[in-house]
Subunit: 652 residues, 2 copies
């Protein structure tokens, strides 16, 4: 077994940032440059700027109207208007015109009665300097206009140019380079088609997109193989290229091929190895020394998992880079979010929980998403992220937490929180709703099974629930369950589609599985759905009808949460078959043995029915275009789609 | 008198945006383009994106450790460790490695006891798929990865590349051009030195900076003279150049040279002329028609005053441009701010009040700044802006309003809110405090006079107050007034400087003004400070000593709020003289007749004294460097600077 790294004691990200700030010397590290003022927005000043000219540089009319000498108007009364002559008593002026010599006030054109081309009447006096912008009103020449260390805003650019400042000395941009590493990592520029064991490199581009948004000059290199000398050479080149920051992607963990720490130690001092936040833990922070030839620069080992890397960028790299430039870190808006599910967390680590969040009534509800550090899609689908403190063991369902919004707050009104059974038509709907031209909606689905959806409605943590619960006694769908579990809630039930459930089997059905009777065979390994899933209830119904004891089904205790996950198990050989919808089998090009038709309905609290989001959802479901698209998926019938269901109808 | 425009009925900005959205046809107007995915951050998708590859594309180790077949480990117990052999029972794996054939679980290296090179012991069983990222765990090939109309985030770029999406179809960027107008307007690129009547053009660059931050492609033209045909030609060129939006700067008001509306009417339909927000009212919104050759594009007349133009950009142009690109308008953080002063507002217009805001205790206090539409420096100095509703007559002192932050919220903890007397050393201090390397502070001064400062302390709306109140009876400064007006507040008084007050007179003192006795002369026009200003109290004291009735001083009733404003009056001949500090006369290179020395102190509630901001302020005042800089200003003595004052000491 080869040598492995040992984590230093992990510290909180803000402590890591503080250590780095203390170790870096900003002044010699960051140079200054002189730019034309109009190209300097977003840059940071390094010296105070004093106004060269006043603004205005002259007394100016602040309104369209006539310029007068106020003292000459004091006799004007409503019952005794005063007559003034052009060129003598008054002159026409437009906003911004210099006040003519000898005049000290402007009367708005609306308050002037024009008698003829050269004569006007006014019926009230003007007071001195009325509607006049006096010289220096905004800016007085020589005054301090912009202090040092100011991040220049658009308005600042306007003020600087107005005061005659045409060039300005600012801090240079931070330059940073990202070095992906790993033998298995393929350069995305080659448009690779990855085989088992291969990964498409993308972390460099996530970094680059962050860097662009921060206003830093970012580059990246081709992937470096897992080789200590190659990595050292790449880091040294990054420094030699003039970067203030060199980031090594992956290789900062404790694995046998993780060389970042060794390399950093050979050319600098490691300040931090491991931060107590999950994802994000295997983050390295170091400062280069004389041995590198470029001392005093920042070296960062970013974790390889995409979500960990993002946390490292947001909590470590971003704050340090902003500080180097003299900028404030832009802060995300924070809101209170009520958690839709109990969320345990490991004490000793701060944990980032991504939330699918939307407004329901007067609360914002957040459904915790998968937590894996490798789940980049959680970052693309979440609206918010909450951090469970290091000392906490987690958050209860219904508890309210403070969360950072990853989207504008108004987006929360455009989120439809669905909790319930998973169906592929929901993905189709999600895309249609995002495609609406005027007010696109984001459909967020939490796959909790049909029963989980009804429970969420009861708790007020879902806007609507998708359910396909078959009641063998009545032959009806959903209503018997609604009566039992939501006795006090007035709900409206709308059919989304009739769908075909069946056994998803490998391509060509090599084990020749024909029905539930085959599930007891010794050579058949089943993959089940979770408790409370309508599909599992359907399976149990069929097993009961066939008089099969679930214990005799191999794999009955292995659970997945979605049809697609079941299909993936079959595709990869992890299971021989599972119960699921036709669309899932079709999507992965494997086979399907039909078993039953069932009604997949949307259960909507009637109190939400008039909401614009729900009305838009229903209009979308009812459009012919969407019905056609559902049919095209295969395995669906749309005879009832969009119709309100009543108890006792079954499949109609 | 030439023809003038008449305002249409003004409407609220959000109504104007809505009118524009309804009149524009986004789909034919905005084209699409295909970009390499890694260059598409911030762009908006125009079609759904489905994953090409799964992620991971294989079962992968999720931890560094050993890969095993779980079933072979079920016998491991703490008191009965299980021995496994390399190559047979286990294989070493690093995070991300493909799971070896026949293995279905990973045991973390921390839980493995290594006996020798090829033998390990484990003391608990592995369950199936433990620490394994299964194929498709994050992304399943064929699934909807990113919907249409999605503004691509850094994480999205990562997800897309991971799923093998190397190119992506997005909406093109909005292209907009800004056309400054006006005979008086000078191109900043020529680095002009403006004479009376001339203005340096800067609005195009404020627009450009906004546009860059919005991600739109912005250009601008040289200033167009006040000529209808020239303006029409410039607008037509803007359209012919492929811009979706053409903005005319200034000329949208009702002045006789305001041609924008005429030009827009000749090639399109004017939707909005005048929005009911101040500043910002003279905003024009129009849509081009067939006569322009480029129908269906947006024409905007932006007001000429800089603050009005900014409101137009933020409330009209920004929302429409974002909508054209399919993006959400980034929302500013909103906070509750307590107003430090009564703020009346004209009903019928929504009014933007810029606030100098900072945290004091557990509240955020905001001092309303000057409201003029021409005051661009209010936008560079404010931390927040609140909008007084159209139907409101204003806000009382101490009332709390909702305000948009123009800076990150954490900046509010770095703002020192000073209310009180104005002194030029405060500008010097402001710059020094912003220059601190570790935690720069922003000193915000509200010029309310010495008495106004004490009142603000009483109301809790200032962190400290600058005062130079002379009490003729005792010969002492400030303490007699503190005893009278803040009887229940424990304050600490720190001297900032001793300063020279005197009569500020024109260069060369042409009227030969030598003292207060000259103020009663018929040929002398005085400019006074506002009631409650220490300088005014000093004047009254000297007038009383000289037995002069204020009524005999011509101009006594004309008030200014700062020393610099008084000096500007003298510089421009609006007054012959005024009482003020030497530094103000020196800054404008005019003359000064000394009258008295006085103590300028900072009055700090003792409860704030230990705050880091105050400690930093005091340390800065006490540094030799700052004392030297104060001396260099001229007209100051620093014998007492930084020392705590006690009652009865006078000038020490």
């Amino acid at each position: 077994m080869s040598e492995r790294n040992i984590y230093l004691e992990t510290i909180l990200p803000e402590e890591a940032v503080s250590l780095a700030k203390h170790a870096l010397k900003r002044e010699p590290l960051m140079d200054t440059e002189t730019l034309p003022t109009h190209l300097a927005a977003g840059r940071v000043t390094v010296e105070p700027i004093y106004a060269r000219y006043s603004s205005p540089t002259f007394h100016a009319a602040a309104m369209d109207g006539i310029a007068v000498l106020s003292a000459s108007t004091f006799a004007a009364r409503e019952d005794q208007p005063l007559e003034l002559s052009h060129g003598d008593g008054f002159l026409f002026v437009n906003t911004g015109n210099p006040l003519p010599e000898g005049m000290d006030a402007v009367i708005m054109i609306e308050n002037v009665v024009q008698k003829d081309e050269v004569t006007v009447h006014i019926d009230s006096p003007a007071f001195p300097w009325q509607h006049v912008r006096r010289i220096g009103e905004d800016i007085v020449a020589t005054e301090l206009l912009i202090s040092q260390n100011r991040e220049l805003t658009p308005a600042d650019i306007g003020a600087l140019l107005s005061a005659g400042i045409y060039e300005i000395k600012v801090r240079e941009k931070v330059r940073a380079t990202f070095l992906p590493t790993g033998d298995e990592v393929m350069n995305f520029l080659d448009k690779p088609e990855p085989k088992a064991g291969q990964v498409i490199e993308s972390n460099s581009q996530v970094f680059k997109a962050y860097a662009d948004s921060w206003g830093i000059e970012a580059t990246w290199a081709e992937p470096t193989p897992d080789d200590e000398d190659a990595l050292r050479a790449a880091v040294m080149k990054g420094l030699a290229d003039g970067n203030h920051i060199v980031i090594v992607g992956a290789g900062s963990s404790a694995g046998s091929k993780d060389y970042s720490k060794k390399v950093f130690k050979s050319i600098g001092t490691v300040l931090v190895h491991g931060i107590s936040i999950m994802p994000g833990k295997p983050t390295l922070v170091a400062i280069s020394d004389e041995r590198s030839g470029y001392p005093g620069r920042l070296l960062v080992g970013a974790p390889g998992y995409p979500v960990s890397a993002i946390i490292c960028h947001e909590k470590i790299l971003g704050p340090i880079a902003h500080w180097l430039m003299g900028k404030s870190v832009p802060d995300r808006r924070e809101v209170d979010i009520t958690l839709a599910r109990k969320t345990p967390s490991k004490p000793g680590m701060r944990e980032a929980i991504r939330l699918a969040a939307g407004r329901i009534g007067d609360r914002i509800i957040g459904a915790p998403m998968a937590r894996g550090a490798g789940m980049i899609t959680t970052m693309t689908k979440a609206q918010a992220v909450t951090f469970i403190p290091r000392e906490s063991e987690g958050v209860e369902q219904g508890e309210t937490v403070r969360a950072e919004l990853m989207v504008p707050e108004s987006d929360l009104d455009r989120v439809l929180i669905h909790v319930g059974s998973h169906d592929n038509t929901l993905d189709l709907l999600a895309n249609e709703l995002m495609g609406l031209e005027k007010n696109p909606l984001r459909l967020v689905s939490s796959h909790a099974g049909s029963m989980g959806g009804l429970t969420a409605l009861k708790a007020g943590s879902a806007l609507f629930a998708g359910a396909h619960l078959f009641d063998p006694e009545s032959g009806d769908f959903n209503f018997p369950f609604i009566d039992r579990y939501l006795p006090n809630m007035d709900v409206t039930v709308i059919n989304l589609a009739i769908r075909h459930q069946g056994l998803i089997v490998a391509k060509g059905n090599p084990l020749d599985i024909q029905g539930v009777d085959d599930l007891t065979r010794e050579d058949v390994l089943f993959i089940n759905r979770q408790r409370g899933a309508g599909t599992r209830i359907l399976l149990d119904h069929h097993l009961k009808q066939a008089d099969i004891n679930p214990r005799d089904v191999q794999g009955y205790e292995n659970e997945e949460f979605t049809h697609m996950a079941v299909a993936v198990n079959v595709l990869t050989g992890a299971a021989s078959c599972g119960l699921g919808i036709y669309a899932a089998a079709q999507a992965l090009d494997i086979d399907f043995v039909p078993l039953a038709h069932e009604r997949y309905d949307l259960v909507i609290p009637t109190s939400h029915l008039q909401e614009e989001r729900i009305q838009t959802l229903l209009a979308t479901i009812r459009s012919d275009e969407v019905k056609t698209k559902i049919s095209t998926l295969g395995g669906y019938e749309t005879d009832l789609t969009g119709q309100e269901m009543k108890p006792g109808v079954g499949l109609g």
